[in-house]
Structure formats: structure tokens, C-alpha cells
């Protein structure tokens, strides 16, 4: 048993050093992960849906003063509650564009409840965002939540009007 323990410890000692140590600090040169560059050069799902379509939820977050504005739209199938399509438009840096592009890719084909669990840390890890760019992934998470909320409130409004109509009919009759 001790031999096993010593092998484990030795194994750790002989592991080769990491080829690239993570450089942290204020003066670090910023490196774009190739995924960010890829999303920037070939953005997926750029576009717009009709805002007034009842199946579409629109999330508009951010502010031009902060340098980041994201508009994320989802098209939901009423019966199954599944997101069938998504698109985005972003005013912001490369990391913001990539974060929102990734967000549209991840929400497609999922349930509206499921996408609310997407965390900004997952987006940041997928794109290897440096600490100074984490707010971009936060904004993407906010955009998803805002889009789902918008869709839900649209559905609630249309349901309420549907219920009001038969009640009136019954009252008339």
C-alpha cells in the first residue's frame, strides 16, 4: 500500500511542467482564445426575429455607456416549451460578441426552464475569457434570462386575454 502511495506521489513529481503558465496581473497582454476569434469571424445566428410575434421572446440588456449592449431573441414552440431558434445582435467587444453567439448556440433545442440554468461561468470557461472580460459572459446570461422572461410575460398576457373573452361570452349569454 505504501508502494502504491509512493508511486502516486512520485508520479506527480515527474509530471512535466505546464507548457504555458497562466499569467495573471494588470499588465498582462490580452490573448484572444481561438474560439473567441472564431465566433467573431464566423458569427452564428446573427439576425432578428419579429418582436411582435407571440412565439418570440426578446432580451435587451446592457447600456451603450458601458460599451456593451446585447439583444438576444428566442423562438419558442408553444406546445412543447422548447426553444426552436435563437438569434442575437451585439454592440460590444469581441468577447461580448462571442459570449452572445455561444449563448444562442446553447439555448437552441432546450426547454425554457433549462436555459435559465446556463451560468456565465460556463460561457466564460468555454471561451477562456480573462478576468477583465467576465462581465461579457454575465451580460450574456442576463440576456438569456431577459429573453425567457419576455416570452413568459407575452404568454401570460395572451392567456389572460383568452380567458377574458370566454368569460365575457358567458356573461353576454
Amino acid at each position: 500500500m505504501l508502494r502504491h502511495a509512493s508511486k502516486m506521489i512520485l508520479g506527480q513529481g515527474l509530471r512535466s511542467p505546464p507548457t504555458r503558465a497562466v499569467a495573471v496581473g494588470a499588465g498582462t497582454p490580452r490573448m484572444y482564445h481561438e474560439r473567441v476569434v472564431d465566433h467573431y469571424n464566423n458569427p452564428r445566428n446573427v439576425g432578428s426575429f419579429d418582436k411582435n410575434d407571440p412565439n418570440v421572446g426578446t432580451g435587451l440588456v446592457g447600456a451603450p455607456a458601458c460599451g456593451d449592449v446585447m439583444k438576444l431573441q428566442i423562438r419558442v414552440d408553444d406546445d412543447t416549451g422548447k426553444i426552436v431558434d435563437a438569434c442575437f445582435k451585439t454592440f460590444g467587444c469581441g468577447s461580448a460578441i462571442a459570449s452572445s453567439s455561444v449563448a444562442t448556440e446553447w439555448v437552441k433545442g432546450k426547454q425554457t426552464e433549462e436555459v435559465l440554468t446556463i451560468k456565465n461561468t460556463e460561457i466564460a470557461k468555454h471561451l477562456s475569457l480573462p478576468p477583465v472580460k467576465l462581465h461579457c459572459s454575465m451580460l450574456a446570461e442576463d440576456a438569456i434570462k431577459a429573453a425567457v422572461k419576455d416570452y413568459e410575460s407575452k404568454r401570460a398576457k395572451s392567456n389572460a386575454s383568452e380567458e377574458a373573452a370566454p368569460v365575457e361570452k358567458a356573461a353576454d349569454a
Partner: protein, 457 residues
């Protein structure tokens, strides 16, 4: 006993370094450390660095950051590295004498460009050091009588930081606001002068937006109130005519690497009549009249001098050429896209600096797409904080426009082909990013962006 066996086995393994580290340790002259210094990979297909692949070296349009060394300047410098390498302060042999001669002729060349006497030029390591000596040195010398400094909000960081340092020491500093076109308001300047004002510092040509301040008028005001005038002329030297007597300048900071000279050298002009005194920031053997101790780097001084002489000869020719290129750039871009704003005054500006804002497109994302053109941005994302450039803020540029600026620097070696290619790439990227921009979409639909309540976070 078993634990002893474990301990010895561990010791044996730790004494033998892992294969990777021995290679690194044996590498002599290796500038690679364990942290992330990524080498540039060049092959026949192009250049890859930081995950970005481009087909060749980018076009250089960032002349305000630095400039290439003119080959004629390099020719002048090389003998002083290889054969005439003496220390100019060695008084006892030929090497020292010839080196001193070279330094003195370089000094004369620099002085000629600004209409000063060679005795008024002190060599330093750059404009930053000269700015430090001017602000802190002057105020420390006159600290008993003078406690107030006036400067502008658009000064270079080194001046602003030196003034902040002075504030911490107990001096008063007035940071004058500028008009939306970037120029200093002369009335406000006049009003802010106090009896105990020891220095007024206004940069001649701004490095970010390229506006030229009205130095002669400011000089007149300073003469009237008898306050020394310091100017940071790093971007102005060799590009616009400078006359220290006409402008009544007492102290001027100069930089070598902005006028096609070597990096690491600058100068400080200090007026002798009336004499302005400073407290030295570098103590030592008393070189450079006791103002700046340290061996004067002969090859750099020779290069700086040669660059100044060339600038004097070619200033007019360069100016005409650069103006034409600037118009070509601006018109080329304006023909294809709208919503292009020039930051800073269009009349009083140095032609080689064009700072443009593209509405509804963010600066850093545009830079990311302009990888084949080396330009710079005043946008927030390129700085460590989320704040946009303080110069653009001082101009009163709208918050959303402040994130959208790009600075193009045109110089002596910029060609028409480079400008055309830059126009082409810029237009392409801006159009692509506007497609992706929700703000552009809203504007096209007729929504007024300023009326929307944004959810700040």
C-alpha cells in the same frame, strides 16, 4: 522503516529535474520565462501570434505610438556602436573626445529645429522623463513661493500623474477643461492663474486626437502674468514649426522615437533668458549641467540629432504628403459609410493623426477585425478598466460614441496603397459590425437611442 523508504524515494525523484525544465535552464540567452511570452510564428503562409493568423505583417498606421527609424538615422548611429564607442565624459583619450563631439553636434541639431541655443538642451531618456523633471523639478525648486500648477485634462498620462504626485505633496493643481474641439479656453486659463502659480503645462499636439493648441496665445498670457510655460512637444517636434521665442516657452519635452529616431532618448529644453531652474530628479556625477546625471548615450543622441536635421529639411514636403493621405483616408471612408465623426478640431489639427468614431460600432471589436492594419483605439475595452479614454471624455463626446473611436497615424513612410487597403478593410469591418449591432438596427427602425432606459448593471 516503510516511511523512510518513501522519503528516500521522494528525495531521489525531486533531485532529478523533470525533462522539460533542464532544457529551459540550459538555454542561454533565452528570453523565454515560464510565463506566457508567446513567440511569433512565421511561415510562408503568414504570421500567427496570440491565436490570430494573418497573411503577413500588418500595415503600420499607428505613428503616434512610435515610428520606424529612418534608415539615414540608423546609418548615422551605427559607427557609434561599433567603432567610436567611447563615453562622452571620458576626458583623457580620443574615444571620449570624439564621442563628446558627436553629442555636441547632436545637441546643436536638436536646438536648431526649435530655434534654441545648444546650451539650453538637456538629454534625457525620453519625453516622460522630461515631463517629470519639468513638473516635479520646477515645483520642488520653487516650492517656498509657488504652490499652484495649471494643466489641462487632455495632457499625457505622465504629466497628469506627476501633477497628482504634486497634489499628494500638498501643491494645488487646476486641471483646465477643454472645448469640444479639444482646444484650451484661453479665458478660463486667464481666470485660473493665481499669484502663486508656478507652472502652466499645455501639450502642443495631443497624442490621441491630434489637435494643435494655440501656443502663441498661451505664451502671451504666460508672459503677461510672468508664469513659466511648459509644453510637451513629443508629438509636435519635426511636424509643425516650433519657435520657443515666439511661443514664449520656458520648458519643452521632446521625444526621439516619434520623429523616426531611436527609442530611449528625449530632450528637455530649458530657457536660459530668463533662466528657469529645476531640482534634478536623477542624482549622480553632474552630467548635463547637473540636471540629469548619467552617461549620455552617444549613439542615441547622434540618432536623435540626425532625425531632427532630417525633420527640418523635410517638414514641408512631409506635411503636404501627409495631408493628402489624410484626405484620401477620410474621404475614402466617408464615401462608403455614414455615421463617421472626426474627434477634435478639424482646422487646428496635425494631419498625421486622424481619430475617427464610427457610430453604433464598438472600438475593440473593430480593432479585432482590423488585424491586418496596426491602429489604436480610445475605447474602454483596450484599457484595463471599463472607462473610455479620458481625452475623449474631456471633449464631451457622448458615452456611447466614446467607445467607438479608432486612431489612424500617418507618417513619412505611409504609402497610398496602405491607405487604400486600410479604407477597404475598415469599411468592410464597420459594415459587418453594423449588421450585428442592435443599436444600428434600432436607429434604422427610427427609434431614438437616447430615449431608451437602459438597464445598467
Amino acid at each position: 522503516m516503510a516511511s523512510k523508504h518513501l522519503a528516500t524515494a521522494l528525495h531521489r525523484s525531486f533531485r532529478k529535474p523533470a525533462a522539460g525544465t533542464t532544457l529551459i535552464n540550459r538555454h542561454s540567452l533565452s528570453t523565454a520565462t515560464a510565463t506566457a511570452i508567446e513567440p511569433l510564428e512565421e511561415d510562408s503562409n503568414g504570421v500567427t501570434m496570440k491565436g490570430v493568423k494573418i497573411s503577413g505583417r500588418p500595415l503600420y498606421l499607428d505613428m503616434q505610438a512610435t515610428s520606424p527609424v529612418d534608415p539615414r538615422v540608423l546609418d548615422a548611429m551605427l559607427p557609434y556602436y561599433l567603432s567610436r564607442y567611447g563615453n562622452p565624459h571620458s576626458r583623457t583619450h580620443l574615444y571620449g573626445w570624439e564621442s563628446e563631439n558627436a553629442v555636441e553636434s547632436g545637441r546643436a541639431q536638436v536646438a536648431a529645429l526649435i530655434n534654441a541655443s545648444p546650451k539650453e538642451i538637456i538629454f534625457t531618456s525620453g519625453a516622460t522623463e522630461s515631463n517629470n523633471i519639468s513638473t516635479k523639478g520646477v515645483m520642488h525648486f520653487y516650492k517656498d513661493k509657488k504652490r499652484h500648477v495649471i494643466t489641462t485634462q487632455t495632457e499625457h498620462k505622465c504629466v497628469l500623474d506627476s501633477c497628482r504626485h504634486l497634489q499628494q505633496e500638498g501643491f494645488d493643481v487646476t486641471y483646465l477643461p477643454v472645448n469640444p474641439d479639444g482646444l484650451v479656453d484661453l479665458e478660463k486659463l486667464r481666470e485660473s492663474i493665481r499669484p502663486d502659480t508656478g507652472l502652466i503645462s499645455v501639450m502642443m499636439v495631443n497624442n490621441e486626437i491630434g489637435v494643435i493648441q494655440p501656443m502663441e496665445e498661451i505664451g502671451k498670457i504666460c508672459k503677461e502674468f510672468n508664469v513659466p510655460l511648459h509644453t510637451d512637444a513629443a508629438q509636435a517636434l519635426g511636424k509643425i514649426p516650433i519657435d520657443v521665442d515666439k511661443m514664449n516657452i520656458s520648458l519643452m519635452s521632446l521625444s526621439g522615437h516619434k520623429i523616426y529616431g531611436p527609442k530611449g532618448i528625449g530632450a528637455l529644453y530649458m530657457r536660459r533668458r530668463p533662466r528657469i531652474r529645476v531640482e534634478p530628479q536623477m542624482n549622480g556625477g553632474g552630467q548635463e549641467r547637473g540636471i540629469r546625471s548619467g552617461t549620455v548615450p552617444t549613439p542615441l543622441v547622434v540618432g536623435f540629432g540626425a532625425a531632427c536635421e532630417l525633420a527640418m529639411k523635410e517638414m514641408e514636403y512631409d506635411d503636404k504628403r501627409i495631408k493628402a493621405l489624410q484626405e484620401r483616408l477620410l474621404n475614402g471612408i466617408r464615401e462608403k459609410i455614414d455615421g463617421v465623426v472626426v474627434n477634435g478640431s478639424t482646422e487646428r489639427r496635425y494631419a498625421g493623426n486622424l481619430n475617427l468614431s464610427f457610430a453604433y460600432v464598438e472600438g475593440e471589436s473593430l480593432l479585432m477585425g482590423l488585424k491586418e492594419v496596426a491602429v489604436s483605439s480610445g475605447s474602454a475595452c483596450t484599457s484595463a478598466s471599463l472607462e473610455p479614454s479620458y481625452v475623449l471624455r474631456a471633449l464631451g463626446v457622448d458615452e456611447d460614441m466614446a467607445h467607438t473611436s479608432i486612431r489612424y497615424g500617418i507618417g513619412r513612410f505611409t504609402t497610398e496603397g496602405e491607405i487604400d487597403r486600410a479604407v477597404e478593410l475598415t469599411v468592410k469591418q464597420v459594415e459587418k459590425l453594423r449588421e450585428m449591432s442592435p443599436l444600428y438596427e434600432m436607429v434604422k427602425e427610427g427609434i431614438d437611442i437616447k430615449s431608451i432606459q437602459w438597464s445598467q448593471h
